[in-house]
Amino acid sequence: MKKRSIKLTVAALTLSLIAMGAAACTPSDTSDEGDSAETVDTPEPTTVVIAGSTSVQPLSEMLAETYMGDHPEVSIEVQGGGSGQGIKSIEEGLADFGALSRELKSEEEAVAAEQFVIAKDGIAVIVNSDSDVSDITVDQLLKIYTGEITNWSEVGGSDAKINVVTREEGSGTRDAFGELTGVVGKDENGDTVDNTVESAIVQGSTGAVIQTVSTTPDSIGFASLGAVDSSVKSLKVEGVEASNETVLSGEYKISRPFLYICGSDPAEQARAFVDFIFSSEGQAIVEEAGFIAVK
């Protein structure tokens, strides 16, 4: 990467603008080069890098903080970027662990030599606290999010237009919610299609979704179970309350795993960190962070 930027600078100094333009316009995927390469390219032996899902990030940070407190010789670096970035950073060898907030897709399984389910997370379906609906089915959610149902009266509420709130495309929570409810499906060619209704309000973070739902009457949204507070009302799905127990037991339908994946056998320090996560101390942190312990 360094070589390339030096080359570019030299080129800039010596060549004319036009010549450079022609050279740079050849389609090449140079867009990632600045991302994280300078810090991660050659991790020092005692640095463990975790990159990926922003849903997993706060948990990883809490785990890392405690672990580094006990093991000052290890430095754990937690980076965000999204679940896609988690896969990418393993593919490119930029991180020890890629963090995902969803199951691996079949085409991604080749990337991951090993995967660890470090926690589970339920996705709560939330509505404005003034709503008179308290129970919903997965099928109704599918219809609401694809625009087939547009009025609360169709799902047992009062006569009011439903304000659908969703996350941005690419968000792990949106992907998980979409796949678990069927909003994201396959078309006749087998390509993945996201059928989220066009008029859905899009917010860029869990906090913004909760804030929007809490202040907008007749709205519906979704967010990590651990992040939901009393400012919004969480719906039962298929008659099952969203709770740690129902997520772990599999009764609550809209739940997802938090994964760490690695490309090859993890380094000694990285392995030790994973062991720590699965220890009782690590799993206590998982619960403290608002997620569901797996051991």
């Binding site: 740079a24 316009c25 140079t30 990418k88 941005e168 690419g170 859905a200 917010q203 907008t216």
Partner: protein, 306 residues
């Protein structure tokens, strides 16, 4: 004697050359940065433009990256709608405020007011966004919507809308418009004011007939700078316009903007989606370039007329 003078001269010329070189390097760094960024954006975005077809990309009405559909018209329309509405709200307020500060308010009080307005520029845009989400969005829903319903009983809004975004943007561009316009009005020569008053014009006539026309190049520059800021604004707008990539039909509809879409989707985007976002960057780049060109043209013409 002679030797020492030429020695001195030699030393000085070495220093001069060194300074010249350093200045040259500094100058060229800025130029090269611009060139490299431009080349990078165009190099990364052009493949996407070619893939979906230049025309389709510009006037396609469906922005749905997950389904491989990249039509940016809703985004451009969103940016334009929010920006223009913000200007409609911000320009009269800003100019009126500038006139008030420079012509009407007592000088000492004006200083306090001006300081307060300039303070607005220092508030981080994400704070504006959060404020908008908590205060302006519900206000639009509870106070503006019932008014609109008097005309159109079917009107519907969550409050996340062009109007909410424009209100916040109008506040955000006020410091630019007010302080530049105020400078422009204050620097109109005192003779103009005196001459106008001597001819029997009252204060209002002096302001509208003499001062504002005389300061128009500065005022226009302030408006164009404000517009530039409004188009580029990202974080605040991201939180309050709803980010719905559909062509808006009314001011109460939610919209997605060019900058907001890039910011929100960039972190996840891969391959063709990422290229498409760079292509959106190209559109933004071209809009801003055009704006700058217009700004320069306008201020040049105004300058000549003056």
């Amino acid at each position: 004697m002679k030797a020492s003078i030429s020695e001195k001269r030699g030393r000085r010329s070495i220093r001069e050359t060194a300074i010249e070189r350093i200045l040259f390097l500094a100058g060229i760094t800025a130029t090269i940065s611009v060139a490299l960024i431009t080349i990078f954006i165009f190099g990364s975005g052009i493949p996407a433009l070619l893939d979906s077809g230049f025309v389709n990309f510009l006037v396609g009405t469906n922005w749905s990256p997950a389904n491989g559909s990249y039509g940016t018209l809703p985004l451009t329309a969103g940016t334009m709608a929010v920006t223009l509405t913000a200007l409609v709200l911000g320009i009269p307020t800003g100019i009126a405020c500038a006139v008030f500060l420079s012509e009407i308010l007592h000088r000492k009080a004006a200083r306090v007011f001006k300081f307060a307005i300039e303070l607005l520029a220092g508030i981080p845009s994400v704070v504006y966004g959060f404020f908008g989400l908590i205060v302006v969005v519900p206000a639009v829903r509870t106070y503006i919507l019932p008014l609109v319903r008097l005309w159109d009983p079917d009107a519907h809004t969550t409050g996340l809308s062009i109007l909410s975004g424009a209100i916040i943007l109008a506040v955000m561009i006020l410091p630019t418009i007010v302080s530049l316009s105020e400078n422009a009005i204050s620097s109109v020569p005192a003779e103009y004011r005196e001459a106008s008053l001597a001819l029997g014009a009252n204060k209002r006539q002096t302001i509208t007939g003499v001062l504002i026309p005389a300061a128009r190049s500065g005022i226009l520059a302030s408006i164009i700078l404000g517009m530039g800021r409004a188009i580029g604004e990202t974080m605040a707008i991201l939180l309050i316009t709803g980010n719905v990539a559909v062509l808006p039909k009314s001011l109460l509809d939610p919209v997605a903007t060019l900058t907001g879409t890039i910011a929100m989707e960039m972190s996840y985007a891969s391959a063709s989606h990422q290229q498409a976002l760079f292509a959106v960057g190209i559109i933004l780049f071209i809009i801003i370039m055009l704006l700058n060109a217009v700004a320069q043209g306008v201020s040049k013409r105004m300058g000549v007329n003056q």
